[in-house]
């Protein structure tokens, strides 16, 4: 009983921690999609953030500089994505897929250039890492901040109207393209913080594929929350808990003493995602002008 109690709190805390990268990515996705740019490139944004944070932290020895590096790299990848979708008018989904594939291929190359290997960045010392709880609270605090930004600042008005009605926005002199460009750059920066969480707070290095589909899970959390910045905290925690449960369950035997294959347990968060998407897609309303080009 005692042991169960302990593991329950453990599970909860672990779930909250693991919801952090999801929340950053979901908020990034929110900024991008509320402005009308469908964003399945969150996965790539996360990886870029993770790599740049770890690389810069290792090279500078200072995680704060690393975090700034992640923000800069996130802005860069956001800029690239925005140029392709908003200005070159490429299909958002195709471009998102392409960008994800590009990132998966490009990062090992950069890794090789800087560190001589393709697999991962060198490990960081404990004092070179940031606190997971610090980043968790940053993510949670960012949600109401983004709500305020969307509803109380002129640019937030323009961001929402660009994602809802292109013609109406233009008729009022709002530059939909410029608004979307800025929104996607911000999305890249916010999402990159989630990547930094993975490599310099929760982990101690960047390794290939370390985002493990979290960009897509964040997208599911965003849909489930109806693209709203406050409910998205809760939906990200839900998926964070699913991720934590998967880890905790691996160390528990079944009642008869046998164990489930690890692979089955690892599927858990993705099955939750699938169930949620099947059940909720179409039930919440996306921005009306999402994926439409100006």
């Amino acid at each position: 009983m005692n042991e169960f109690h302990f593991s329950f709190v453990d599970l909860l805390l672990s779930g909250l921690r693991l919801s952090t990268p999801l929340l950053f990515a979901a908020l990034g996705g929110l900024l991008s999609e509320r402005a009308g740019v469908a964003n399945i490139a969150l996965e790539g944004f996360l990886l870029v953030g993770a790599f740049s944070a770890a690389a810069v932290t290792y090279l500078s020895g200072n995680p704060w500089i690393g975090l700034s590096g992640a923000l800069a790299a996130g802005a860069m990848i956001g800029l690239i994505f925005a140029m392709l979708t908003v200005y070159a008018k490429a299909d958002h989904i195709v471009m998102g897929t392409a960008l994800n594939l590009f990132v998966v291929g490009a990062l090992p190359l950069f890794n090789k250039i800087f560190f001589g290997v393709t697999g991962s960045t060198p490990s960081l010392e404990l004092d070179q890492r940031l606190s997971v709880w610090f980043l968790f609270f940053v993510a949670v605090a960012l949600s109401p901040l983004i709500w305020f930004f969307l509803h109380k600042v002129p640019f937030g008005y323009h961001l929402r109207s660009s994602g809802e009605n292109i013609e109406a926005s233009k008729s009022l002199g709002i530059s939909v393209k410029r608004t979307r460009l800025i929104a996607v750059i911000l999305a890249g920066m916010v999402t990159a913080l989630g990547g930094a969480f993975l490599s310099i707070a929760h982990g101690s290095q960047f390794s290939r594929g370390m985002s493990a589909g979290r960009g897509f899970i964040a997208l599911a959390a965003l849909i489930l929350a109806g693209w709203r910045p406050i409910p998205v905290i809760l939906t990200c925690i839900l998926f964070g808990l699913a991720d934590a449960a998967q880890i905790v369950l691996q160390s528990y035997p079944l009642p008869d003493g046998s164990t489930l294959p690890v692979q089955w347990i690892q599927m858990f968060p993705y099955i939750v995602t699938l169930v949620v998407l099947v059940g909720f897609v179409g039930k919440t309303e996306p921005p009306q002008a999402i994926a439409k080009n100006d």
């Binding site: 109207s161 809802e164 926005s169 009022l172 002199g173 309303e285």
Partner: protein, 503 residues
């Protein structure tokens, strides 16, 4: 005489080979209501877009208050006090009334939107305009009339004093139209100049001071409203004499006999329809009036067989005494049903197919072997339709896309009538069609009804319903909210009663 506030001189605009505006001249006096009328494709919209800075003319000059201007974007026009209420409202549905009111021109304090002063401005303007809108409600919850009033408030907030209205009454109920025309007079009394683009000649006569008529990209005439009448305007519009849109041709009550062609009982749809029941007799034209989106679309889908209804209690569709509930479109067509769908581009035609292919696709059940294209036969039929309906097409092998809206619609009408159907479902049969083509389509429907074909006419144009129907049902929230018979004799008197049943 007041001074000229807005002038266009020799405006020419070409799109590829098409000359949309051909040396157009326009003079608007300050403080007048100036109507611009013309058929679809006459160049009205292009001219308005030029006046509003959305597109730039190839040649010609614009003068605002005597000064030559050059617009780069709508913002330039807005800054000179020119504002436009578009046919499709420029509102963000999922933002509030207040947010839409200030969008793009938000007042701020230290970078934060000053909602207080915005709300005060909104309230003041609402008071001046004698209107009331819920400021914190999302725009999608407003009625069409309310949305239009919000659009006007937006322009007033931006200090526009030349207001352009593009087909403003198309989507309003008769009551809302009256209110709208009254608000135009109010705006005029407050010194605003109004440009009214419309094809509704009665409204022009009701409010306008001056009328400019456009035809084929040119301004053919500009005259004082007091010195003209609907008949003259219609003639100028088309270039020949026509029957006015709301003038009724058949004025007697028909004697109907025979078993009902269609009998619908307790029809309920997935979302919209709630227990709809009615029947149509041979030779009868039954009009379904109502504001769009109240279940008309679902009704057409279920009657034509595009959607087959689930087994709801007691619902049935009987066509010529056959229960056809579960029949597919093909079977219904073969049995003698035909349908003019409401959206000709998405449901009526395949735009990149030629006329022969389009004709065949919609009528293949009437051929002996409905899987092989009887090429010569169909080509001959299309040629005959082209001459019968005066369809302007280069050849039967022109792509549907190359035809104007009116001519596309005539192709659909010819096709649907080809199999001598017993019942025609005509949904918005003349939407976006010019007056000449409307007259032709209406005449054909009346002739077929005379010969015994039953017609279910679904239209959001009350004029059309009143000028054709023998009987009218009003649909509201998926229910039949009222029924009017003997429309032929009561005619125009029913307008307001029907309007009341719509809301």
């Amino acid at each position: 005489m007041s001074s000229l506030i807005l002038e266009a001189k020799g405006i020419t605009k070409r799109f590829g080979n098409v000359v949309a505006n051909d040396r157009v001249d326009l003079s608007i006096r300050e403080g007048e209501i100036h109507a611009i009328i013309g058929e679809n494709g006459a160049g009205k919209s292009t001219l308005m877009k030029i006046l509003y800075g959305m597109i730039a003319p190839d040649e010609g000059q614009l003068l605002v208050r005597g000064k030559s201007v050059h617009f780069e974007s709508p913002l330039d026009a807005l800054s000179l006090g020119i504002g436009m209420v578009h046919q499709h409202f420029m509102l963000v549905e999922r933002m509030t009334v207040l947010e839409n009111f200030i969008l793009g021109s938000e007042p701020t304090i230290n970078g934060i939107v000053d909602e207080k002063s915005a709300l005060q401005d909104l309230k003041n303007l609402m008071l001046e305009a004698h209107t009331e809108l819920p400021s914190s409600s999302l725009v999608k919850f407003l009625s069409v009339g309310q949305q239009q009033r919000l659009e006007i408030l937006k322009l007033l907030y931006r200090k526009s004093d030349i207001l352009i209205f593009d087909e403003p009454t198309g989507v309003l109920t008769p009551q809302e139209v009256d209110q709208f025309l009254k608000s135009l007079r109010d705006l005029k009394a407050r010194g605003k100049t109004i440009l009214l683009i419309t094809h509704k000649l009665n409204e022009v006569m009701a409010v306008a001071d001056q009328v400019t008529v456009m035809r084929a990209g040119k301004t053919v005439s500009s005259l004082a409203a007091s010195s003209t009448d609907v008949k003259e305007l219609a003639t100028l519009l088309v270039g020949r004499e026509v029957r006015a849109f709301d003038e009724r041709k058949v004025k007697s009550v028909k004697k109907l006999s025979g078993a009902p062609v269609l009998k619908v009982e307790s029809l309920s749809g997935v979302k919209k329809l709630k227990s709809v029941s009615f029947q149509i007799n041979p030779g009868e034209i039954l009009g379904i009036a109502g504001i769009e989106g109240n279940g008309q679309h679902e009704l057409v889908q279920m009657l034509s067989g595009v959607k087959v209804h689930s087994h709801s209690q007691g619902a049935s569709i009987q066509f010529l005494n056959m229960k056809i509930d579960q029949w597919n479109v093909e079977k219904r067509k073969a049995a003698g049903m035909a349908c003019i769908p409401e959206d000709r581009h998405h449901e009526g035609l395949i735009l990149d197919f030629n006329l022969v292919e389009n004709f065949y696709l919609g009528s293949r059940v009437h051929f002996d072997i409905p899987t092989l294209l009887p090429f010569k036969e169909v080509t001959a039929l299309v040629e005959k339709s082209i001459s019968d309906f005066e369809i302007k097409a280069k050849s039967p092998f022109s792509k549907a896309r190359e035809l104007s809206g009116g001519n596309q619609q005539k192709v659909i009408v010819a096709r649907e009538l080809f199999g001598r159907p017993k019942l025609l479902i005509a949904a918005q049969p003349t939407r976006g069609v010019d007056i000449g083509a409307i007259e032709r389509i209406h005449d054909e429907l009346l002739k077929r009804a005379e010969e015994g074909m039953a017609i279910l006419l679904i239209s959001s144009e009350l004029d059309e319903i009143l000028s054709l129907s023998d009987r009218v049902l009003v649909i509201r929230n998926g229910e039949i909210s009222a029924e009017f018979s003997d429309v032929a004799v009561q005619g125009p008197d029913l307008r307001y009663e029907i309007g009341r049943a719509m809301v």
